[in-house]
């Protein structure tokens, strides 16, 4: 019953400006796929191509096994929730939720039941008679989700659904969305966001976009632990990106020999070494590096140290220090070989 989404070489251009470049991506049925990227990366354009609000210059968009490239939006059978909610201000909550059912000529006696069902699913049943303007932002967002779910779409498109909410509401809604997906395991969800926390929390897989192109796809764990490009490494989580020369079973950085798994990267080439700041430890250990403290930031539960090692700035997130080092102090930091990922320059160059 459920439908996946498939992009086949989808390109979108506005006035000669390519905003989505030959996207190939498959969202399996029942999967949550996050499209993660900075603004202008083409992620929203990709979502709007599925919804039918932008027309690809080339390529095909499939929902299930239907080619919907030439279908108008209202015949695609999708549910969509956008950042500004777009609840119809002249309709009560229940009529907003019933809108899609009435538009699709669902049998009259079936509508009240489906409306109640959708409102209960989002916890908004007791607000059925209110107008949107009488609801808070978070409540409006729940109604918008209920409205999209009421038509029982095979595909749900969420376009930055939480970015208009404040931080506290956002984490609550995140848990809510995760619960909804557990209750509706058949619905495929395409979730556009620029917030890595949302993507990491919610998605089965993340597609990282930048400069109109797909940069990387993988499960959150894969992307976080084994990023393949510098862009992924720095956009999904935080990263130290160190320029290194690859040897055999080790790399050299700033005159020091670091033992890291080099995999199939051939020796002698330049590459980038990615080390997560929270995996860097203070004091002596394996792969020790010495430098002077350039900056100390206290962040409550952690200290962020910036250490200059031979002109390269290294970030280290450390559990709160009793006595943090002073600026200019010589310190030694280290990281375990298995915590480093070598990004070969070749991969990062063609993105």
């Amino acid at each position: 019953m459920a439908d996946g989404i498939r992009f086949e070489k989808v390109s979108v251009a506005y006035g000669g400006n390519t905003v989505l470049d030959s996207l190939d991506l498959t969202v399996e049925s029942g999967e949550v796929m996050a499209l993660l990227g900075p603004s202008g990366s083409g992620k929203t354009t990709a979502l709007r191509a599925v919804a039918g609000f932008v027309r690809p210059a080339s390529g095909r968009v499939l929902i299930g096994d239907r080619d919907v490239t030439d279908l108008p939006p209202h015949r695609r059978g999708i549910g969509m929730v956008v950042q500004q909610y777009a609840l119809f201000p002249h309709l009560r909550v229940e009529d907003n939720v019933a809108f899609g059912l009435k538009a699709q000529k669902v049998a009259k006696n079936e509508i009240p039941g489906r409306v109640t069902e959708a409102l209960e699913m989002t916890g908004m049943a007791s607000y059925a008679k209110r107008y949107p303007r009488e609801l808070s932002g978070g409540q409006q967002q729940r109604v918008a989700i209920a409205r999209a779910l009421a038509i029982r779409p095979g595909v749900l498109l969420l376009d930055e659904p939480l970015s208009a909410l404040d931080a506290q509401l956002r984490s609550g809604m995140l848990a809510e969305l995760a619960r909804l997906h557990r209750e509706l395991p058949d619905v495929s969800i395409l979730y556009v966001t620029h917030d890595q926390v949302e993507a990491l929390t919610l998605a089965d897989r993340i597609a990282v976009m930048d400069k109109a192109r797909l940069q990387d796809v993988g499960t959150p764990q894969e992307l976080y632990r084994r990023p393949r490009t510098e862009f992924t490494a720095s956009f999904v989580g935080n990263a130290n990106l160190l320029p290194v020369q690859v040897g055999s079973g080790s790399v050299s950085f700033a005159g020091a020999e670091l033992k890291v798994p080099t995999g199939d990267v051939s020796s002698g080439v330049s590459a980038t070494l990615c080390v997560r700041p929270h995996l860097v430890g203070l004091g002596d250990g394996p792969n020790a590096l010495t430098g002077s403290v350039a900056e100390v930031q206290w962040r409550g539960s952690t200290h962020r140290l910036y250490v200059d090692v031979d002109g390269h700035r290294l970030k280290a997130d450390l559990r709160e220090l009793r006595t943090p080092p002073a600026l200019g102090d010589e310190v030694t930091v280290h990281f375990a070989p298995e915590d480093a990922v070598l990004l070969s320059a070749g991969v990062s160059a063609d993105g």
């Binding site: 019953m1 459920a2 439908d3 095909r60 499939l62 929902i63 299930g64 096994d65 239907r66 080619d67 919907v68 490239t69 030439d70 279908l71 108008p72 015949r75 059978g77 999708i78 699709q104 038509i151 029982r152 779409p153 095979g154 595909v155 058949d186």
Partner: protein, 290 residues
Amino acid sequence: MASATLGARAGVRVKSRTEIPRWVWALPPVAVLGLVFLYPLALVVQQSVTPDTGGTSLQPYADVFASSAFREALGTTVWLAVGATVGCLVLGFALALVIAFVPFPGGKAVAKFIDVFLSFPSFLITLALLFVYGSVGMANGLWTDVTGAATGPFQFLATPWGVLLAEITYFTPFVMRPLLAAFSQIETAQLEVASSLGARPARIVRQVILPEALPALAAGGSLVLVMCLNEFGIVLFTGAKGVTTLPMLVYGKAILESDYPGACVVAVVNVLISVGLYGVYKVVSRRARA
């Protein structure tokens, strides 16, 4: 999930139903407009080159352009319109400045009043001026009461100056409205920063407010210019034989003299001037919004 299974399956490209192209929907209103407005306008042009003697010639144009009445009317129309526009701009700018930047209780009511003022017909102003400055009106009455003279000094109502005063009065709100909208876009913080830096009000008006208001001034000014060129009610109510504008000439030739070719010639000239200026207004106001 029922909705998602609608439509053809098996990887075939689902054909979008043949829908009526969008431009078809524009045809009915355009057809109506063409029939009741554009076609009559075309007939006016046609009539203007069809003298009563028959045939097609530019003779009506030659006749009209040669007549001193037309040249006088053209001159009067243009200088009245330009004068009224300048007056409206100066007055409107000053009044809007006070409403927006020297706020006083009742300022909102004044802005409301201006909106109401705009919904009344123009000739009421002339009617009112008859009571204020007419030969036996308020101002002259006051003068004769005080000085004991037989007549008052205000005798300008039947002259172009009376029309000018009425037009400035009636059209100034048309300048004030876009100006007030533009002024509301200026952040008060900008003015406060400017005055904290030691700028006097005159300098703030010149260097901060005026540049922001310039597009609105240009747009409002060109709108008023067009409306003044086309104004009829004010001139008609003045009843002055000495003041003839192009619209008055059209009315006179058509209704009073039944000289349709002549009326049409004047009408074509008037339309060309007004539509040309209106085009300028649209360009300017589009830039004002950008």
